[in-house]
Structure formats: structure tokens, C-alpha cells
Symmetry: C2
Subunit: 335 residues, 2 copies
DNA sequence: CGGTATCAGGAAAGCGCTTACCTAAGGCGA
DNA sequence: TCGCCTTAGGTAAGCGCTTTCCTGATACCG
């Protein structure tokens, strides 16, 4: 591994000069030396050691991202947004996949901290009052105390900058839509009860139910397609009178659609997030749209642009929007 | 930012001792000091500086991954596999999104090199004989020359370890399937002509066409859902006699399905990759399955387990498999 | 009781870079 | 001609760690 010293020796200059030339420092240098050094760099295939640079310069250039699972389209979409703006700022992005294990989140926060990242974006639902969650919060504070920046997406930490998707409002939108169509027997396929995202969306749905004087049949699943399919199958078996289902994300809605097809039933169904798949299933899925990529972009912007000193944490609300397609229709009075 | 020296001072020991205790070195230390140091660590919220550690230890622990686009389900799936085994080995994964720009690939290779990663996995199709491609190859060699390991997925570099999906065979499978069903007027919606993946899959299709004494109508698109939709719409307009379409990935197949629906036409259609969405569209998509997650896992294993010295590069072939669903059917003779 | 083996802990030399500071050589005006 | 300011380049002090080697103290042996 060629070092700067090798380059300097080969070019017959000091490491100081070599360093200046390679980094294009403002210090003037004769053309002669410049070409010699650059030639040495090329011949030795010299690549500077980033760790040494970080250490010497003491600047932070990378940013870390914590996601539950990159291969989940929900996070993939968010990640895309995060990466777009990070790249635009010339930042290296380190993506950490927690595989939905809270313990891994803690590990990764420290790891990113150790790697001197400039900022950490924590994406994805938090857990309702768990030990891991407060522990995480602690570490986030510790990281911020050392000058690092934190932005969270959809978490309920009110000490860091946050972009918060309108989960509750979205839930309301979904519920209101179904009730306005005349449905009375509606079930909700929710995500894991421990997640704040589940809780928030559910709260909105409940608010709609109350407003319309209705009740909801709630079951919990796991936000996956197959989980949604199973939940829907159970629901159809247990509650034959059901006319509509609200799934708390599109993956589960798609699963539910498959289950309904398998059971030969047709219920109105509404999803959440409006992921790309929504328009390609049959019937095309009505969904509560959340601009995922934008969520990521906003969060990265918060993370990268430090707020004025001693300002309170910034919060950016991202509205939800109902996208009506073919999977919901008015309930016809029983014939 | 607390340093080791701070911890040592606070615990009243030397940095050497502090370092040993924190890293659990085998050197024996009195319980007394151990607790003092650990207490200092906790009080100061000390997190070691990973850059300094890298520099001092001179070991490489991270691994880099180059993908065209994480949010593309194809790469998301591969990335998942990569990450699973990297995490199992306790490695930090740095994912670099090239946004399909060859120039960015070069940049990132150097960046990962500079960051002293232990290995780089280059995922995703290469370009047929472009300058950027040979340049990339050069840099890969330079990286390997410094002791770094490289594994490529589906690229035609025969100097590094590689896992190669059976693109050609898969193409043949797709073609043979369509021809066996009696289709004669079949079109192919290919990816960008410059990509090796396109070329390989196409070659297999051509081989099948030759074997069955048929010809193919080929159009190039961009591997995206909307690109596929546009291409299919054009195809339907230009060539009304078409009875089957082979799309070179599932995204385009899904788009084609949508275009056909819009045009009120029903042709047999076959996709490629068997991504999760394939079973959820209507009709469920027949597809040439490539185990994407496994592709990623294999590649990371190659990258992490160095081969015996001076052995030739290893190549792992991953077979393709035809998954027949509802989107392909026998051609009924025109009535 | 001297000598050596054992042990806990510290001093200090790097790891590869950046950069503040210094030096030597010209160039200039007076 | 002298003194001083540029200018081009070098010297060396870190950045925060790890680790080799060393020291002083204690234990153990004959």
C-alpha cells in the first residue's frame, strides 16, 4: 500500500509538498514539482488513506443511516431520498440495516459515532416505550453532545430534528374514506402493536370511527405481504360479514388482496404508503400516499444543515394524501 | 469529544492501560483499575475513534458494496443477501449507490479504497466495452494489488472472484417456453443495449429462437416499469399480430402488463428475475427466477473468504429456473 | 538472603496524514 | 550595498489510538 511518504520520496519532495499538491492547497508550487508529484501518484497508484486524513483533519464527512431493512420497498424508497441529497452534498452514506432488531440499532449508533460521521438519520418506526428505545435516545443525545447531528424519520423523539409523516391524519383519511363509502363492518390489519407507526395510524382510524360512530375490528400483523395475507384469511373466516379492510401498509394490503382472491371474496380494501406496487395489482390499490422519497430528502437536509445554535429541534410535517383507485367502492345495500 | 487520554486521566492510569481494558486485551489488569477505567468510560460517554483505531491497528474491517440503485427491488434483494452475510461476519457494510452513472462507480471504488475496506462487491450489470468499464477494471486491480478483495456479481471481469447468474440460460428458458407454447410472433423488451445483462439474456433468447427456427422482434428499453409500459404500448401499436412478449426483467413485464390492460389486449408475457411483485400482479407473472438474495450471499462469501494464494479467480454459477404462472398460455390457432 | 521469574502498569514509538511554522533564496527599494 | 519582504519548500508537531518494550515491585526458589 503506497503512502504519501512513498510518493514524496519518489518525486523527491517532502510529504508536506506532496500533500499540498495532491489536495490542491492554495499554497503556490512550481509547475515542475506539481507534475513530478502527480506522476508519482499515478505510477504508484497512490490512494490517500481516508482514516489518516480524518484523523489529521478532524473533520467529519460521512453520514450514517439506520433503517430497519433496505430491501423493504418502504425503506428502499426513503433510502433513495436520503442518498440523493447526501450525494448532492458530496457525503458518503453508510447504511446500517438493523434487521428490525432494536439491539442492533444501539450497536450501530455507537459504530457510526465511532466512525465520526457528521450526522445520523434514524429512519423507521420506533418502539412504544421500550428499554431499547430510551437507551437509543440516550445514545443519540451522547452523539449530539459531541457535535454530531441527528435527524429522525417518524420517531417520537422530541429532542432531535425530525420529519414526521402524517400517520395519524393518514389513518383518519383511510377511515373516513371507507365510512363515507358506507362501510360499517370494517377491519384493520395493523402492524406490530409495539411500533409507533402502528399506533399512530391506528389512532387516526379510531378517530374516524368515532367521528362516524362506528367501530373497528383490529388485528395485528407484521407489515409483510404474507403476514397481511394470513391476517386477511383469518378475518374472512372469522367475520363473514366484513365489507372492507384497511391495511396499515401496502404490503399487507397486497397480501390481503391475494387472500381475498383465494377465498373468492371481494371487499373494499385500502392500503397505506402508496408504494409503486399499488397501481400494478388488480384491483389497483386505493392507498394513503406518503411521499417516501421526499421523507428521506427532507430528513437528510435537516441532518446536513445545522440549525441556528440553541434553537429548538426542528420538525417537518409531511402530509398524507388519499389516492383513490379501484380497490374501494361504495357499499351497496344488501339486496 | 472525549478521547482515550481523557479517560485515562480521569481514571488515573496511562492510555496504554485504558486501551487494554477497553479492548479486553489478554494482559492482566487488577480489578480495581478495570472498574475505574470502565467507570470513566461511562461517565465521559467515551466512544473510541474508529479512524484512529484503523490507523493504529492497520486492519480493515468494513466492506464496500457498489450497486446501481438500492431502491430498485432487484438490487434491494441482492443487497439484502450481501448484508446478511456481512453482518454475520461482523463487518460494517458501506453501500454506494451509483445511480447508474459509470463515472460514479470509479469515484466510489477509489473512495472505498481510501477507506481501507477489506473487500468490495460490485453488483449489477457491467457495460459492454466502454472506457469506463476498462477504467473500472483497472482500479479494481489496483485495489486488489493492495490486498483488498473484490467480488463481482454478473460482470464479465475474469480477473476477480465472481458469481454469475445464468442469464444466457435463463434467456433460453424464456424463449423455449414461449415457443413451446406455440407462439411465433414474439417480441422482446430488452434493457439498455450497452449492458451485459441485456446482451446475455438476449443471447439466450436468440439461441432459443434459432433452435425453434423462429425470429424475435427486439426493442430496447430501460429496465424500469414505465419504460416497459411504453415499449409494450409501442409494440402493440406497431405489430398487431404479436401474441407474446418476453421482458428482460419483471419491472418491465409489469409495465407491459399495464399497457396491455390499457390497450385491451391479452398477450402471453414472461418476465425475468421473479421478483416478489410477480405473484401479485394479475395475471400472475411467469418469470425466469434468479435467486437474488442468494446471489448476494454467495458474492459476500467470496469476498470475505480469501481464496488460497495464487489460485485462479473463483466463479460461482447460479442457475435460473422457470416459474410458470398465469401470464403465459398456449397459443390457440386463430379461429 | 540473593537472585531470578512473574506480574501490573507505564513510556513512547509509530500508523499516514495535515498544517503551523520556519528557512533559505531571490527580488526590491532606498 | 543593505535590509526586508516575498516566495517555494521543508520541518516537525500533532490527530487518537495500539502495542512493543521497559520498569519497578512482588513472589518464589534454592
Amino acid at each position: 500500500m503506497a503512502t504519501l511518504a512513498d510518493v514524496a520520496r519518489r518525486a523527491g519532495v517532502s510529504t508536506a509538498t506532496a500533500s499540498r499538491i495532491i489536495n490542491g492547497s492554495p499554497k503556490p508550487v512550481t509547475e515542475e514539482l506539481r507534475t513530478r508529484v502527480l506522476a508519482a501518484v499515478a505510477e504508484l497508484r497512490y490512494v490517500p488513506n481516508a482514516h489518516a486524513q480524518m484523523l489529521a483533519r478532524n473533520n467529519r464527512n460521512a453520514v450514517g443511516v439506520l433503517v430497519h431493512d433496505v430491501s423493504d420497498p418502504y425503506f428502499a424508497e426513503i433510502t433513495r431520498g436520503l442518498q440523493r441529497v447526501a450525494t448532492a452534498h458530496g457525503r458518503l452514506v453508510i447504511i446500517c440495516n438493523t434487521f428490525r432488531e432494536p439491539a442492533r440499532e444501539l450497536e450501530y449508533i455507537d459504530l457510526l459515532h465511532a466512525h465520526q460521521v457528521a450526522a445520523i438519520v434514524v429512519a423507521g418506526s420506533g418502539y412504544l416505550s421500550s428499554d431499547a428505545e430510551t437507551e437509543l435516545h440516550d445514545r443519540m443525545l451522547a452523539f449530539e453532545a459531541t457535535g454530531g447531528r441527528i435527524a429522525v424519520i417518524g420517531r417520537h423523539h422530541h429532542s432531535s430534528d425530525a420529519v414526521v409523516p402524517a400517520n395519524e391524519e393518514g389513518g383518519y383519511l383511510a377511515g373516513a374514506h371507507l365510512f363515507e363509502l358506507g362501510h360499517t363492518a370494517v377491519a384493520v390489519i395493523a402492524g406490530p402493536a409495539a411500533l409507533t407507526t402502528t399506533a399512530d395510524r391506528l389512532a387516526g382510524l379510531q378517530r374516524a370511527a368515532t367521528a362516524f360512530g362506528r367501530t373497528l375490528h383490529i388485528v395485528h400483523s407484521d407489515f409483510t405481504r404474507d403476514g397481511g395475507a394470513t391476517a386477511a384469511a383469518d378475518l374472512l373466516a372469522v367475520d363473514p360479514g366484513l365489507t372492507a379492510i384497511a391495511a396499515l401498509n401496502d404490503s399487507m394490503a397486497v397480501g390481503a388482496l391475494a387472500a381475498m382472491r383465494a377465498a373468492g371474496r371481494r371487499l373494499s380494501i385500502i392500503g397505506f404508503d402508496d408504494m409503486p406496487i399499488a397501481r400494478d395489482v388488480t384491483p389497483a390499490l386505493t392507498s394513503v400516499r406518503l411521499p417516501l422519497t421526499e421523507l428521506g430528502e427532507r430528513a437528510m437536509e435537516l441532518a446536513l444543515n445545522p440549525p441556528p445554535p440553541n434553537a429548538p429541534p426542528r420538525t417537518e410535517h409531511i402530509p398524507a394524501e388519499l389516492v383513490i383507485r379501484d380497490s374501494t367502492w361504495p357499499l351497496k345495500p344488501a339486496t
